[in-house]
Symmetry: C2
Subunit: 334 residues, 2 copies
């Protein structure tokens, strides 16, 4: 294992410092905590605070999405580990500007437990805190660290929509209702070409043969649903779209947002080839792709592979919210 780091036990702290040093106009570190908060303070006045967090290793998620039009604060756990309740509470307190705080939680048991504990502590401080548990990964039911379905890259689209709503002055109840409306329309599935190596572990989370892929692997190397020989990009797209079609039942004139997400080590070139195949096949289904993004949004350290997220656009407003201007480290204007 070769990784650019100093001490595996300090890597998260040093990353958080690196982000704050590199982008002081976007984020600042909260005291000695592993919490990054929005620097553009005036942009949060009189608005609902929007926070998320979870294990580190998925960059730019989620601290790269802190800023106007998206998140207020992000709590960084150790690598692939939930942040602690005291740190989450600090993020809630900082993000609260009198209109309450909404938490976007990815569906991992440890995260749910710790975010809920923090919420209970915040309630004692008279802060109104609501949340959504994102479980967009359709690959498997229940998993190594999850009851039900896992939360993965679709979370970024949820953050974009809720961020636009919060920035536009939506109330906590309105944001909660919006999140609940969006969630059942948000589905993701991925394929891994190689596993991630956690620095403190020093070896890959699983092993694939030289010419093998695994469908449905989780972002912490949780098992997927099938291994087979590597396929051409168009065949990979066909497999993932077939699974998504089982959920959505594609109908001509349906409108979707489409996100192709690189897992960390897959070149953008390959992601664009894959997106081409996805969009061509969606066109064959007669489906409209109204919002499309390609890139590394929710990675898994140095894993090679991609995930494909579809959001069925049931409301015109969701598309406007996806296109709402943001000002963050890692998300371009749209």
């Amino acid at each position: 294992m070769k990784k650019i780091m100093n001490d595996a036990t300090q890597i998260v702290t040093e990353m958080v410092d690196g982000m704050a040093l590199s982008y002081p106009e976007y984020v600042k570190r909260l005291d000695d905590l592993l919490v990054l908060v929005r620097s553009q303070e005036e942009s949060m006045t009189n608005k609902v605070g929007l926070i998320t967090g979870g294990g580190t290793g998925h960059e730019p998620a989620s601290a790269g999405y802190i800023g106007e039009g998206m998140l207020s604060a992000v709590v960084c756990g150790q690598i692939f580990s939930s942040p602690t309740p005291d740190q989450i509470l600090a993020a809630i307190q900082t993000a609260d500007h009198g209109k309450g705080v909404f938490m976007i939680i990815m569906n991992y048991s440890g995260d749910i437990m710790n975010f809920d504990m923090a919420r209970e502590m915040a309630v004692m401080d008279d802060i109104d805190v609501r949340f959504i548990v994102v479980d967009d990964d359709i690959a498997v039911e229940d998993s190594t660290y999850t009851q039900g379905r896992r939360g993965v890259a679709g979370t970024v689209l949820m953050e974009k929509i809720l961020g636009a709503a919060a920035d536009s002055g939506a109330s906590l109840s309105e944001i909660e209702a919006l999140a609940k409306q969006v969630l059942p329309n948000l589905k993701t599935i991925g394929v891994a070409l190689s596993a991630a190596t956690v620095p403190e572990v020093g070896k890959p989370g699983f092993t694939l043969a030289e010419d093998e892929v695994e469908y449905g692997v989780g972002i912490h190397s949780e098992p997927g649903y099938r291994r087979e020989e590597m396929q051409p990009s168009a065949k990979l797209a066909e497999e993932l779209l077939a699974r998504l079609n089982d959920e959505f039942n594609f109908t001509p004139e349906d409108h979707y947002a489409v996100l192709v997400n690189g897992m960390g080590a897959t070149p953008l070139m390959e992601q664009f080839v894959f997106m081409r195949d996805v969009l061509n096949q969606l066109a064959d289904f007669g489906v409209q792709a109204d919002f499309t993004k390609v890139g590394n949004f929710m990675t898994s350290l140095d894993m090679a592979g991609v995930s494909l997220t579809l959001l069925k656009l049931r409301e015109d407003q969701w598309l406007k919210q996806l296109n709402y201007p943001v000002n963050t480290i890692a998300m371009v204007r749209k």
Copy 2:
């Protein structure tokens, strides 16, 4: 070799199609060529056109930087291969809006030959074409495909500065003068942890031992200047900064732009740890870092490693140009 693709000989065409399909609001493909041009046509009226190009495999460079405030058009060669003069000519013709075209060429012999041939053809069309050859890589003098020094990630900062000038209405002569002023202040050096694999070749361009790094490797796997055992991030930063200091002779109160660039397979987490070490050491030199960016800007397919670019900010205007708002696929607002 596992790559998400269909046919290695079609990968560039399919990538170009993928970009145009995914981001029609930013780029469109020119006829059947491997040329991507800016969709926001009205933003180019009465302005100097700014083009670049070169081999594919460095995404998001350079098509990801097409848009308001940056590039007008980009010519994509085959992987790690120069684009042909006819395609470059088509990009020049499209980018010309009556005020001429400026070409940003990275210093590779094939690119220089082909861009110069295209320029000569354009002159016959009465288009005024000027250019700069970017040779920011201080690792080695002369290289596999280069006389002098290679052009690498510093090119992105050049594109940002010249893009701002062009968008602000600078003339072709002013842009040429600005490029010549910036160039000697722009220096880059990198370190590779692994080599890139070209799809049609199917095996890595070189081999490093499990615990070995190579300093100064080029973005097409050209040899660097030294191999040694993997070092902690702070030591890697020390080595690269020492080489840059040989060029710049750091003096307290000097002002720099600092770009940490991932080579493709290196997680953002590691890049931020590395940037932390770089910024801490620059602070020890008493040097000011006024503009800082971290991410995958000029990659080399699936190579692991980072490069470090410094631009000495001799003019206040350069910092303003670096912060000039852009609207592109891969470069955020600043």
